[in-house]
């Protein structure tokens, strides 16, 4: 199935918000690194992914720092409480030096845009994000990481290791191209946080969300 077919199927099924587990499966197919699933050892995170609850932690649907067995048990408990969800057990990312947000949306005036800035809890610093037209070339994505107050976080504050900016710029560009090519089907896409490791060590998408556009016939009705 092509990416577009997957998106069209979701849209046809009446989905509006596509939960993390499905969003990550699709993003993985376009080359976005995601955490290893169902690891046999190491520290794990267990999540319950459900289209109706995109903000999982607000509903107690994220459990961190578990052993593989504990994670399975936690997933089973959450599955009982939230029917229709998909349990996700992943390896916890321990080596990140920065958390970033990458988001795309259709702006009413300029069409597809891409945003990148400090992620995780730092998204509350809304002024720190850089915005460009999508698709953004890798060079443009690089400029987003060298401008604004977020730039210093990636350089490494107070002796911290600098983050892998090349990998992050590549991801920003890749997501912006994917979004711009499918902006008729997707109204928003967001990866938050991207766990960025030290220079040369890559990154991983810890959480992701895709918001689908209404179907063409519904769009006509709404205007």
């Amino acid at each position: 199935m092509t990416h577009r077919e997957t998106l069209e199927n979701w849209q046809r099924a009446g989905r509006k918000v596509v939960h993390e587990a499905d969003a990550k499966s699709l993003l993985q197919r376009i080359g976005v690194p995601v955490p290893r699933r169902d690891p046999a050892n190491g520290r794990c995170v267990a999540k319950m992914c459900h289209d109706d609850y995109p903000h999982k932690s607000d509903h107690g649907l994220v459990r961190l720092g578990l052993s593989p067995d504990e994670a399975k048990q936690a997933a089973a408990e959450m599955a009982e409480r939230f029917a229709g969800g998909t349990a996700l057990i992943e390896e916890m990312e321990e080596g990140a030096v920065a958390e970033w947000i990458i988001g795309c949306k259709r702006d009413d005036t300029f069409g597809p845009i891409v945003l990148a800035g400090p992620g995780g809890i730092l998204v509350e610093l809304t002024d720190a994000a850089e915005i460009r037209l999508a698709p953004a070339a890798p060079q443009t994505a690089q400029s987003m990481l060298r401008s604004g107050p977020g730039a210093r976080l990636l350089e490494g504050l107070r002796g911290a290791e600098p983050a892998d900016r090349d990998a992050l710029a590549d991801l920003i560009s890749r997501i912006s191209v994917f979004f711009a090519e499918n902006a008729d089907l997707i109204s928003e896409i967001e990866i938050n946080p991207v766990m960025v490791r030290a220079n040369g060590k890559g990154l991983t998408a810890a959480d992701a969300l895709i918001v689908l556009s209404p179907k063409a016939d519904e769009q006509e009705n709404s205007t």
Binding site: V17, P54, I101, G103, C104, K105, D107, D108, T109, F110, G111, I113, L115, G117, V123, T126, D127, A129, E130, I131, R132, L133, T140, E188, I189, E190, N192, L209, V211
Partner: protein, 471 residues
Amino acid sequence: MAEPSTNQMAACRPTVAEALDGLFDPRTIAVVGASRTKGKLGQAVLALLKSNGYGGKIIPVNPSGGEIEGLQAGRDLEEIDGPIDVVVLATPVGAALDALETCTRLNVKVVVGVTSGFSEAGDDGHENEERLRKIMQDAPFRLVGPNCEGVVRPASDLQLTFSPMFNGLRPGPVAMISQSGALAGLMALRLGERGVGINAIVSSGNETDLTAAHLLDYFGNDPQTRVVLCYVEELRDGRRFAEAAQRLTRAGKHVVAVKGGRSRAGSRAVQSHTGAMAGDDRVISAVFRETGVIRARESVAAVDAVTALAAGRRPAGNRVCIISVTGGLGVEMTDLAESAGFEVPVLDEATQTALSRYVPFYGSVSNPVDLTGVVLANPTYVGRCLEAVAADPGVDIAIAIITFVPDQQFIEALAEAFDRTDKPILIVWTGSARSNASGEALRERAVPVYDSPARAASGLAALAATTGEVT
């Protein structure tokens, strides 16, 4: 009458470039609603067109016929033989729509709709808007407006407007696109007062057909336009506007834009942080910055920016020399320049030696240079000092600050200094209204002249092509 097919109609619709070429240099103009009655739009349009010396053919159109403003009037557009480059609609809305419909059967290139009463009138204009859109769907001409203040092009002595705010402009490198006629008038008047030359002004009104983006693209391809000044409230095809702006700025031209109606992030529910973080106003600032558009906070700051850019000189760096006839204004200018990211460096020793011929011991030859009141008795001193600091290899931009001017020689010496350098020069003249001197020598050279350090700072920021906001 047999209706021509839609395909034939679309085939003979002029391109944007063909229509605007015709609009800015028309051979024949028909003014629908031309009138002898003072106070009517059509009377004002015809009178301004005539009094500004337009050399082409003007045909007033009025159902009563006869002679208007000394010209033979037609009773109806259909009485006119041959092609009409421009039809101006200056009647009440019903008659304007009838005339627009008539235009679909004639050989017309472009219609300028001064008439109001469409979408801007809300529910009352709804039916008119529907009819307008239906006519425009396959009209064989292009439309500026409606609900606009018109089109002005000094080089063609062309004033298609009812507003006297655009009188007496010089031809030059600045094009203006404005969704508000009144703001176009305000900006044109101020640019005119400073001697800044205007290529064309289009009040684009409701933009039913031709949009700010179309116009920006056209001016980008126009070799006579170096700077485009835009006032926009709603960008109808923002993507095209952004792409056109990027082409212009990459080609070394400048776009200065005021976006009216700033708003906070949309109140509609958002599913993601992205929605909340990319509010409308932040996106506009970001896209303008990305595409090289200088965003001005308001229209007067935009005029200040354009004034500096229109002179056509680009600085090699950010080092500013300020010479002043008074300490206080020099200090204020220095503060503003530094907080805008400019350096006000110590001058070269040779420059300081040259300056010391003119500056008394109680003045200062460091930067800012304080010439003191000695200039009142020596009217050429400021000009000579400006020349000396502009020649300093460590100076990229020179600013001369003067107050009241006792003598015409004073201004002539400044104009000479401007001619002897290629570096950008800004002049702050706080007392032009209290001076025994004319600024004409400065205006005819389009030397940027400001009435306060803060206004000059807006010009300075634009000069550095800091593609951020100008305040």
